[in-house]
């Protein structure tokens, strides 16, 4: 079942990556990133059956970081939205120079 869990993790990760690449809504891109994180978490949990409880501890940390990231990221999205009245990443392309 560990192999199957890893395959599931890979599929979820690839789907998440695809989402990040093709969606333009910043919040949905964010959700897709969470999906990638979850895929990694699943891989950790699956491998903890082979390596030890440490894997699960890492999942705990990843979740914490994800929570922090969500808080800060969403705050950024809110302030961007205030400025542009939009969350479509095509509308803010100042990330150059």
């Amino acid at each position: 079942m560990i192999t199957e869990a890893l395959i599931l993790s890979a599929i979820l990760f690839v789907v998440g990556t695809f989402g990040v690449l093709v969606r333009r809504n910043a919040i949905i891109m964010f959700l897709c990133i969470e999906l990638q994180l979850n895929a990694v978490n699943l891989a950790f949990v699956a491998l903890s059956r082979l390596v030890g409880i440490d894997g699960q501890v890492f999942v705990f940390f990843v979740m914490t970081v994800a929570a922090a990231e969500a808080a800060v990221g969403l705050a950024i999205i809110i302030s961007i939205f205030r400025h542009y009245e939009s969350v479509d990443v095509n509308n803010f392309n100042l990330l150059k120079w």
Binding site: V22, A26, M29, V89, N90, N93, L95, K96, W97
Partner: protein
């Protein structure tokens, strides 16, 4: 006064106490340091003076230097310091000289001060070498230098740059003393370059005149060519000996170098190239006549008495190396004798009084080279010394004449050339003292018994004949030719010097009736040094008279106080060279190529010179000379001589213009096109790459995510495969 008496006692005690004991040097560093101190003080005064003048000009006026004829206040201190340090340096030198006289010094005394360069195998100490040769040079440099400093006080009286002038002059003496006292080639080179620098500064002393500034540059640049030779010779020496100190190099040279070998020849020829630059010999003599743009005392000190003889000193110092190379020595003598003749022919047709003396200097330096080239190192140094006396006298005398002419012309605002002899004539009436001393110097340089030049020049000519006739002389025919040319050049010398004297002092005055009234004799501060030099020019030759001449009627059958002192004095320095010469050449000849002994030829040459002087003065006095403004251009061969054989033009065509074209090519094509093009192209490539890179920077988050994933993919790929 007490200091002086203490000093005197110490001299006497040290000098004679040992009774031929060890030589104890007396503060030799002070000799070098005193002129440097003078330079520092005068330099400071010059800077202060320049700042005040600049402030005055900025305020819309001019710095008040006091009324005409009045000595400005800014000139007081330099007048004391400049000649003062020279007098002190001369006294210290004298003390050392007396001590050296009273001791038996066979090995050079090297006074070590500190280590200057200490890198790997290369060590150079800041050390002074005191031996017989450097002592002679020190005496000449400080003694004649002091007299010229005193003369300058009068000559430069009205010059606004007075303190700067003395600063440069003191600095020159400092470097000259480093040159002659340094104990190694690098130290000599320091002095060598330093005197070159001071020469440049003093030739271009009136730098607001474009022509004079250019003359300074010419001297500097031509000297660079010679310096290249000096440097290459030093490199050869270092590779061969591993050191550049005089003592070990000359000690090892006879063993390390093969007589007549390629290395010895290469070293001596490169040293010769250096010497031709500094001592104005063919082919690098062209800078010296132009160097007359400087103040006349400078011409006397630097371009006649001291700096230009540095090449002769260097060859004499390196006598061991030159003795080991017969080809090198023959080249030295050949260049010397050719220069002597060539410059003498040019001097025949020059009208500028200083130009005549300049070519005369080049010619006399040629004699010195001939002397050191035929192994007569003592004779070369002897002629260097007597030449320093009479040529300094001639230059200072011409300075007095120019000074007087300048004042006369200045009074009536006449713009005629005060240096052109065609504008002079009949000055004897106005300047009797100058006239007298300059005739003495002329007789000396013409080689007429019993003046100094007779003994020194005749010694050289005789040694040429003797060397050519030696048992195993390397190129006997060549030396015979040298001897004939040297005699011919001596005759020319007698002629052009008589012409100079006649045009300047005899005949009718051509300055102009209004100007004539203002001609005057030089002040005492100027003629006293002339008188001292006149005494030296007259009797200075008596210190080196060979026994044969001394016993003949030329020496008053041994009654006159003549000695062969200098020859014996220099023996410790030239001993190695003479030993090499004796081993390889055998006995020197006692007869000239066409028969006749030393005395006979001495009589012949002095009689010939005398005949020429007398005949020329008779003929030339009668000849009509027109003032410069009315004089016609010379024609025929005279024109060639007047234009100095067109050597400057030749150099311009063959060296300067091609070099300019090459420089232009390098500038336009290599620098502006190739190098700048390459640099600009590099910039354009970087800019293009930046532009291409900026295409990736869209500002769109998805694009960045895409590239991010791509990079992650690459890393993943590396992990997988």
């Amino acid at each position: 006064m007490t200091i002086f008496s203490t000093l005197l006692t110490s001299v006497v005690q040290e000098g004679h106490g040992g009774g031929g004991g060890d030589f104890v040097p007396f503060l030799p560093g002070l000799v070098v340091l005193l002129p440097l101190l003078g330079f520092v003080i005068n330099g400071f005064l010059a800077l202060r003076h320049a700042r005040r003048s600049a402030d005055a000009v900025r305020a819309g006026g001019e710095l008040d230097l006091g009324g005409p004829g009045e000595r400005p206040a800014t000139h007081t201190l330099p007048s004391l310091v400049g000649p003062g340090v020279m007098l002190l340096a001369f006294l210290v030198t004298l003390v050392n000289f007396v001590r050296m006289l009273g001791s038996e010094l066979h090995e050079p005394m090297v006074v070590h001060y500190w280590t200057w360069i200490d890198t790997g195998a290369f060590h150079v100490s800041a050390a002074l070498q005191l031996d017989q040769l450097s002592m002679v040079m020190m005496m000449v440099v400080t003694g004649v230098g002091f007299l010229i400093h005193v003369f300058s006080v009068g000559y430069m009286k009205d010059d606004p740059g007075y303190p700067r002038y003395f600063a440069y002059l003191n600095l020159f003496v400092f470097f000259m003393l480093v040159l002659v006292m340094g104990s190694s080639y690098p130290l000599m080179f320091v002095g060598w370059e330093g005197v070159g620098l001071c020469s440049y500064l003093l030739i271009g002393y009136w730098f607001s005149d474009r022509e004079k500034a250019d003359a300074g540059k010419k001297a500097f640049i031509v000297n660079r060519i010679g310096d290249f030779g000096f440097l290459v010779a030093m490199f050869f020496l270092f590779v061969t000996f591993g050191t550049l100190d005089f003592v070990p190099v000359f000690h090892d040279a006879p063993d390390a170098l093969v007589y007549g070998g390629g290395l010895a020849t290469a070293i001596s020829l490169f040293f010769l190239l250096g010497a031709t630059g500094k001592s104005a010999q063919i082919p690098l003599y062209v800078w010296l006549p132009d160097a007359m743009a400087g103040p006349t005392p400078v011409s006397a000190l630097i371009h006649a008495a001291t700096m230009v003889t540095a090449g002769v000193y260097m060859v004499a110092r390196s006598s061991t190396l030159f003795a080991l190379s017969p080809v090198g020595s023959a080249t030295v003598a050949g260049i010397g004798v050719l220069t002597a003749l060539f410059a003498a022919t040019i001097a025949l047709k020059q009208n500028d009084i200083k130009k005549v003396l300049a070519y005369s200097t080049v010619s006399q330096l040629g004699y010195m080279f001939l002397g050191v080239g035929v192994g007569a190192y003592a004779a070369g140094v002897f002629h260097l010394m007597t030449h320093a006396f009479f040529k300094a006298l001639l230059f200072l005398g011409s300075g007095a004449v120019i000074h007087s002419m300048h004042h006369a012309l200045h009074h009536t605002h006449n713009h005629a050339d005060p240096q052109d002899m065609r504008n002079m004539g009949g000055l004897r009436k106005y300047m009797p003292i100058t006239w007298t001393v300059m005739w003495l110097a002329t007789l000396a340089i013409a080689g007429i018994w019993p003046f100094a030049g007779f003994f020194s020049k005749d010694e050289i000519i005789w040694q040429t004949a003797a060397f050519g006739g030696a048992e195993h002389a390397p190129f006997p025919g060549l030396y015979t030719a040298y001897w004939v040319i040297a005699l011919a050049a001596a005759m020319l010398t007698a002629f052009y010097m008589t012409r100079l004297m006649v045009m300047t002092f005899h005949g009718s005055n051509r300055t102009g009736s209004a100007e004539e009234k203002h001609l005057h004799e030089a002040p005492a501060v100027m003629w006293v040094p002339l008188a001292v030099l006149a005494v030296l020019s007259t009797f200075g030759g008596w210190i080196n008279v060979p026994e044969a001449i001394r016993e003949s009627f030329l020496g008053g059958f041994g009654v006159l106080p003549m000695t062969e002192w200098l020859h014996h004095w220099l023996e410790p320095v030239t001993a190695t060279a003479h030993h090499i010469q004796e081993t390889n050449l055998g006995e020197l000849s006692h007869y000239a190529p066409f028969g006749g002994g030393e005395v006979a030829w001495a009589v012949i040459s002095t009689v010939m010179a005398l005949v020429i002087v007398v005949a020329a003065s008779r003929v030339l006095v009668r000849g009509e000379v027109k003032p410069a403004a009315e004089d016609a251009e010379p024609t025929g061969f005279g024109k060639v001589l007047y234009n100095k054989w067109y050597v400057d033009e030749l150099y311009d065509r063959t060296v300067v213009q091609p070099l300019l074209r090459l420089s232009r090519f390098c500038w336009k094509w290599i620098d502006a096109f190739l190098i700048d093009g390459a640099v600009n192209a590099a910039g354009l490539v970087a800019r293009g790459m930046g532009w291409a890179g900026s295409l990736f920077q869209t500002g769109n988050l998805n694009t960045y995510a895409f590239f991010f994933s791509l990079a992650a993919l690459v890393i993943l790929g590396v992990v997988v495969f």
